[in-house]
């Protein structure tokens, strides 16, 4: 097939990069989702006025390139505050906020998507606000949110390719390192792309399937 100088060691090196990609993604998605749920419900409960400062911060994090957010956070932490933070920490921090910003929107949309008549039906049976939230809103909102949330998690994985800028050697950076040594850009890029695709595609399809299944009832 391909006549290549790629060795098993190099594949291990790539796999390490992939591992970093997945680790950064996992941390950002877990923390970001937790934050996003809190932010989302907060915004839904307190209304637009009180949530304005939070809304602004989240909006900023969706409106400037991730690359710049990383560079700025890095420069701010290090140059201005002189905190000794590893690139990995900065990367996880920025990606977490970034995930939270999108997740808050998803959560808010999902809670709003629960028909008010359904909530009224629950309250009219004598269920309290908390009971309504726990037994009716949350289960229903989860169904609405899950497909978009899966999309978000995959998006974060793809966007994590940018954390190379703060010296985190993730998958794409590992690929570039190997390209430097082996000079086989096409083969290496294809391996790298295939990795992302193999993870992303089935999960995206699964999300689409859930969306279809749950929108029917």
């Amino acid at each position: 097939m391909f006549d290549t100088a790629l060795t098993a060691k190099d594949m291990v090196f790539l796999a390490q990069g992939a591992g970093v990609t997945l680790l950064v993604t996992a941390i950002a998605v877990v923390l970001g989702t937790a934050l996003g749920i809190v932010f989302g419900i907060f915004r839904f409960q307190v209304g637009p006025w009180w949530a304005a400062p939070l809304t602004f911060v989240l909006d900023v994090s969706r409106s400037i390139p991730l690359l710049i957010q990383l560079v700025l956070a890095n420069a701010f932490m290090g140059v201005v505050l002189k905190l000794k933070m590893s690139g990995f920490t900065v990367a996880c921090g920025v990606l977490t906020l970034y995930t939270a910003a999108y997740c808050a929107e998803i959560v808010r949309g999902a809670v709003e998507a629960v028909p008010s008549t359904t909530r009224r039906a629950a309250r009219s049976l004598g269920l309290s606000w908390t009971q309504d939230m726990t037994y009716i809103v949350l289960p229903l909102a989860t169904r609405v949110a899950l497909p978009s949330w899966i999309g978000l998690a995959l998006g974060v994985m793809k966007d994590s390719a940018l954390v190379y800028i703060v010296q985190v050697t993730e998958l794409l950076k590992s690929t570039q390192i190997l390209i430097t040594r082996l000079q086989e850009p096409l083969l290496l890029l294809m391996i790298c792309g295939a990795f992302y695709f193999v993870i992303s595609f089935p999960i995206a399809r699964f999300g689409g399937y859930l969306e279809k299944r749950w929108s029917n009832d």
Binding site: P115, T117, T118, R120, A121, A122, R123, S124, L125, G126, L127, S128, Q131, Y135, I136, P139, L140, R143, N216, D217
Partner: protein, 241 residues
């Protein structure tokens, strides 16, 4: 007894209820008819405290609904309500739909709640649908389930808000039959409806609402055959196509 005294209610600049006075006796079946936007649904949601009122008073069995100290969750157990649509909790089976409130609100045990659910569901003719999800039910069956769910709290009153409006014509009959059954069992009911034939047959009194005002109230024979108010006459005429 439900006593409504001079109730007013606005949404922003829009005055929806312009001073309603109405008393419903224990065991009475009252039907409310009227054009779209005349405030019928709003009145029902005010009666069980889902919406606050601007002024006036609503008392249920002597308890003032909108007074400060009133425990609304407790009061609502007395007032079953069924809406036009989207009543079912889609993530729970039919049985679980009916069991939820008895278990969480009344704190009844699982087995006992299940028994109540089965009894009420059989009562409305859904004894064979216990374990399916609402999406598998026809619209008429969903509405009957909503009725069973309300009945499972043993309410003293039932409020129905156009429960047949969203249904296919062939399904209307089965739901109306369930309401007729409840009426014959002596349940106190307020029904908002567009089904004039049903209203005439089942009601003790019929109230006609127009633009936030109760324009006329009386026995069915008066409202349908000899309306006093020209608006009532026009409305009744219009709905007899």
């Amino acid at each position: 007894m439900i006593e409504i005294e001079n109730v007013r209610k606005s949404f922003g600049p829009l005055q929806v209820l312009k001073g309603i006075d109405l008393t419903v006796q224990k065991g009475e079946v009252l039907t409310i008819i009227g054009g779209s936007g005349s405030g019928k649904s709003t009145l029902l949601t005010c009666i069980n405290g889902l919406e606050p009122i601007d002024s006036g008073r609503i008392k249920v069995d002597g308890t003032e609904v909108h007074a400060k100290g009133t425990d609304l969750n407790k009061l609502r157990q007395k007032l079953g309500i069924v809406f036009q649509q989207w009543n079912a909790f889609p993530h729970l089976t039919v049985r679980e739909n009916v069991m939820l409130a008895p278990r969480k609100v009344l704190g009844i045990g699982k087995d006992e709640a299940a028994a109540i659910a089965e009894k009420q569901l059989s009562h409305v003719g859904l004894g064979d649908k216990l374990d399916v999800y609402p999406s598998r039910l026809s619209g008429g069956q969903q509405q009957r389930m909503a009725i069973a769910r309300a009945l499972a709290m043993s309410p003293g009153y039932m409020l129905f808000d156009e429960v047949t409006s969203a249904l296919d014509p062939q399904l209307v009959g089965e739901v109306l039959d369930t309401l007729r059954m409840l009426a014959s069992e002596g349940m106190t009911m307020i029904c908002v409806t567009h089904e004039m034939k049903f209203a005439r047959e089942v009601s003790d009194r019929v109230a006609f609402f127009s633009k936030g005002v109760m324009a006329e109230i009386g026995v069915p024979g008066q409202i349908f055959d000899a309306p006093q108010n020209p608006e009532t006459a026009a409305f009744v005429q219009m709905t007899q196509h």
